[in-house]
């Protein structure tokens, strides 16, 4: 099992969710985050005082996927989340040791 973490632009969330559902992947966890990579922020002016907005709103989407489906999942996420503009985000893949479904006690791939 792998944990796929994707930082994406917020308005892309619905598209990404849809693409993953089409692959048969159910369930994800979503957090609202702020961040930046190469995308620069911008400055605003409030009552003549400048302030820099360095951190941009993003969505962090986490989904645990059976190892065999990781390749497909990455393709789907990238395809749906990409705009071609700077700031599209990144995807990280990390290993998951063990998974349990709380309601039934099913484990590992049976819990996904």
């Amino acid at each position: 099992m792998k944990l796929v973490t994707a930082i994406i632009k917020p308005f892309k969330l619905e598209e990404v969710r849809s693409a993953l559902t089409d692959l048969g992947l159910q369930g994800m966890t979503v957090t609202e985050v702020k961040g930046y990579g190469r995308q620069k922020g911008h400055t605003e002016i409030y009552r003549s005082a400048e302030y820099a907005v360095s951190f941009l709103p993003k969505i962090k989407m986490e989904i645990v996927v059976p190892t065999a489906q990781v390749e497909k999942a990455l393709e789907a996420i990238q395809g749906a989340a990409k705009t071609g503009q700077i700031g599209d985000g990144k995807i990280f893949v990390s290993p998951i040791e063990h998974t349990v479904r709380i309601r039934t006690g099913e484990a590992d791939d049976n819990a996904l």
């Binding site: 002016i45 009552r47 302030y51």
Partner: protein, 436 residues
Amino acid sequence: MLSLVALPAFAQDAAAAPADPYPYILNTFLFLVMGFLVMWMAAGFAMLEAGLVRTKNVSMQCTKNIALYAIAGLMYWVVGYNVMYDGVDGGYFGTFLPKVIPPIDNDPGSYSAASDWFFQMVFCATTASIVSGTLAERIKLWPFLIFTVVLTGFIYPIEGAWKWGAGWLAPGTDDSWIKTFAGADFQDFAGSTLVHSCGGWAALMGAIVLGARYGKYQDGKPVAIPGSSMPLATLGTFILWLGWFGFNGGSQLALGTMADASAVSRIFVNTNLAAAAGVVVAMILTQIFYGKVDITMALNGALAGLVSITAEPLAPDPLWAIIIGGVGGVIVVFTVPFLDKIRIDDVVGAIPVHLVAGIWGTIAVPITNSDATFMAQLVGIVSIGAFVSVVSLVLWVILRFTVGLRPSLEDEIAGLDKAEVGVEAYPEFGTGSQRL
């Protein structure tokens, strides 16, 4: 029961029934209705300030506003009104006694005494509101309210007596000092100096003694601390604009004749034009200087326009009302950054809007009112400015070095809602205590 048509003799002076009761009734009506419109300005200030402070300080700002309105209402009865109006006679103050509200069967004159008290009281409350905006986000509640007690019971009534109480600035006699020295009585129709500059000076002195918010000025530059709710700030401004029709219109002090009705109408027109001009000028200037319109400056522009016309809302023709209000907009756009330059942290822009535009409005009176002279206006501005500033400064310093003005740094950072009020404005949002 009193009937509208035939007034029994006991309702007026025992000597004779009045020939026509309607001027009395209409004058009283003007005071009451215009008075409660000005009362509504207290809501306007509260919402404007609530919108321009951060979420962690909103309850505190609301608390200050409801408290100061209540304190003004009490102090102005306890001592304020009579200090301002009872037996001033060309002097410096009246009597330090509570206002007597007469019984309804012995309330002679051109209007009900209670209606006059009420109308004047809400003006006192407006003065107090001005101070709370500037000092927001880093002042303790009770020291601020102590200052408000003195401002509403003594400072405002004394300087108000000098002009509206027929004191030394406007005794109405031909051989007075001011007539001789300056050529005319000091003129301030609805209070550009008496109310707005008075509040402004008290606010400025407070800001100097209190200091800026933590983190406001870093590396020699001002740091933006954006307000939490633009809808509230906008609503507050519209409410103030509405209330101002009462503030200026009611200052005609009479509705018993066609001329009075015409005057109040003209005042409404000029008041609205001045506010509108203030908004447009502020928007155009912020667009030019900053590349974007700043809503908070547009709101300030409206208020500065209103303050500017307040010294003389009757005499100008519409074009002059627009110019006078428009200059208010200019004042806001230049004064706000200037205050930051000299490290005066004015959270809501009350100093540009009330103090500076108040001075402008007062000095502009002779342009359209030939009963005024620039010298008399200057005498009023300077004398009232000096009195309010000095007394306020002394009082703020006393408060600072006795009970203390500022919360601890930890409390200021945590927010005054938690530290001073114990009730958060938005407990489920952001870092509120009820949000996981």
